[in-house]
């Protein structure tokens, strides 16, 4: 089981969290985006083997959305930030 260090609550087990997927995906500008860009945004993912930047919701804790660096080969967890800070 993963242990995720929440910046507010400390190190907590994976079962307290809900996985939110790839955090690098950005919604295209609706005024200018092509159909291809929309399809890519909705469906395509890099799905990397190695470092992955991803969203987790601390659902059974402080309820904040976090951006977590995790390696998809070793499951090692690196930096954890508030999604609010990561977005700006």
């Amino acid at each position: 089981m993963l242990l995720i260090p929440c910046p507010h609550c400390g190190v907590r087990p994976e079962t307290e969290f809900v996985y939110g997927g790839d955090a690098t995906v950005r919604r295209p500008d609706p005024k200018t985006a092509s159909l291809d860009a929309w399809a890519a945004y909705i469906y395509e993912r890099d799905n990397p083997k190695g470092p992955h930047t991803e969203l987790w919701l601390h659902a059974s804790g402080c309820h904040s959305w976090l951006v977590v660096e995790r390696d998809t080969v070793t499951h090692a967890i690196g930096q954890v930030r508030q999604a609010r800070d990561a977005a700006s």
Binding site: K49, E54, V73
Partner: protein, 418 residues
């Protein structure tokens, strides 16, 4: 030339002290050039090579596998075979597969132990009941055998299930596909490999594809591997959980994410379960292997991963559900757990067909449920490669559907998973 397997042969070899058996297939050095390269020596890649050689006369084919054949999901799955999917497109391709299964042992001259013991999909809520009845009707319209059983009918078919009204997961009924069942996964891999090898296909193990070559026009031109460069004008990526990695080497992205999917077996027990029982609501399914182990699986671990292991809490949830449905399992011990990396597509349907790279095809996205489709997956991809155009069975499963929006949404629709 290999010799054929038969009962008489087994008897003859036994009398000769079993000294006369020879290796099942060659272990060839890679040639510099082939007509077709297939990346991935799982069931789907091997079946593709077999049908290319057998049905289309294209035998100058290499199957390139980074480890050993069947070391991926083909050898890790829980072997449930059924075709009772909701949508017409799915029913057609999975039912084509089921028909191939019914003749596969004879076709491959190996016993794949295909056992049509019947597959139950339990309903625990009113919604499950409605969805199950709807699927039974859809299946029957598509010529797929399907029956609806009420709770006493479930008990009669599978006496071990607790159908009492106060059960944690009350059983309100189930769909039954009698032609569904299980098969021996290793025998399927070895059988396709042996039959393809016999027709001249080179199966190259311990060769990891590290780059995809393209010519001046951008067309597929071969692969770099850890055993050297191998050229071909046509290629197919059939790499299950590693499909995104290979697509990236070829310069395109896929609507796929890779997740661990876990399964486990119990200690061997006497015969007690003679059918397959699945429950999507509580995410557990179980059958009993020929060795007597209970084979059980659950849903995927939530996060993406390329590590063939998952977390214990997923197994705990799954065992809690299994013990509620089958109270006698509570004293059974778990012997072994493992995971495979499954390629999950947003609509829980596969991708079989052309890629943005001319000359390069892909077959992936089977996720948690592609073992049952091994024959029809290989059959349709072989047709697509040989003719340059999809067969009507796989045309709806094009990569393009994510642009056109014509998804085949089996996630919400059918008995998903496995």
């Amino acid at each position: 030339m290999q010799d054929r397997f038969s009962a008489g042969r087994i008897l003859r070899e036994a009398l000769g002290g079993n000294a006369g058996w020879r290796p099942w297939r060659r272990n060839p050095e890679p040639k510099p050039r082939y007509d077709v390269i297939i990346v991935g020596g799982g069931g789907h890649g091997l079946a593709t090579a077999y049908y290319l050689a057998k049905l289309h006369g294209i035998a100058n084919v290499a199957v390139i596998e980074k480890g050993w054949i069947g070391g991926g999901n083909a050898g890790r799955n829980t072997t449930i075979v059924r075709s009772n999917y909701l949508w017409d497109e799915s029913a057609a391709i999975y039912e084509h597969g089921l028909k191939l299964w019914e003749g596969l042992s004879a076709d491959l001259n190996i016993n794949v132990m295909f056992s049509q013991r019947g597959v139950l999909n339990l309903a625990h809520t009113l919604h499950d009941v409605r969805e199950g009845m709807r699927r039974v009707n859809a299946n029957q319209l598509n010529g797929v055998d399907a029956e609806w059983l009420d709770a006493p009918g479930v008990k009669a078919f599978c006496p071990l299930i607790d159908i009492s009204a106060d059960a944690r997961w009350p059983v309100l009924g189930a769909t039954l596909q009698r032609r569904g069942g299980t098969a021996r996964h290793d025998a399927v891999v070895w059988g396709y490999a042996r039959a393809a090898d016999r027709l001249g296909v080179d199966i190259i193990e311990n060769a990891e594809v590290t780059a995809i070559l393209r010519d001046g026009q951008g067309r597929f031109d071969g692969v770099e591997t850890t055993r050297g460069t191998i050229k071909a004008r046509t290629g197919a990526l059939v790499a299950a959980g590693h499909s995104s990695i290979l697509a990236a080497m070829a310069g395109f992205r896929l609507p796929i994410e890779s997740h661990p999917l876990q399964a486990l077996v119990s200690e061997p027990l006497k015969r007690l379960l003679d059918c397959v029982v699945m429950s999507n609501q509580v995410h557990v399914y179980v059958s009993q292997s020929d060795k007597g182990e209970l084979v059980m699986g659950a849903g995927i671990d939530a996060y993406t991963s390329y590590t063939q292991r998952g977390a214990l809490h997923v197994i705990e949830d799954q065992m809690a559900a299994a013990c509620a449905l089958f109270p006698m399992f509570s004293r059974v011990r778990v012997m072994r757990t493992w995971a495979g990396i499954v390629d999950v597509c947003p609509d829980a349907s596969p991708i079989i067909g052309a890629t943005p790279v001319p000359g390069l095809y892909i077959n992936c996205g089977w996720g948690t449920g592609g073992f049952k489709a091994t024959p029809s997956s290989g059959w349709t991809l072989a047709h697509t490669i040989a003719t340059g155009a999809p067969h009507p069975l796989n045309a709806p499963f094009a990569l393009k559907r994510f642009e056109t929006g014509a998804l085949i949404d089996e996630h919400g629709a059918a008995a998903v998973a496995h």
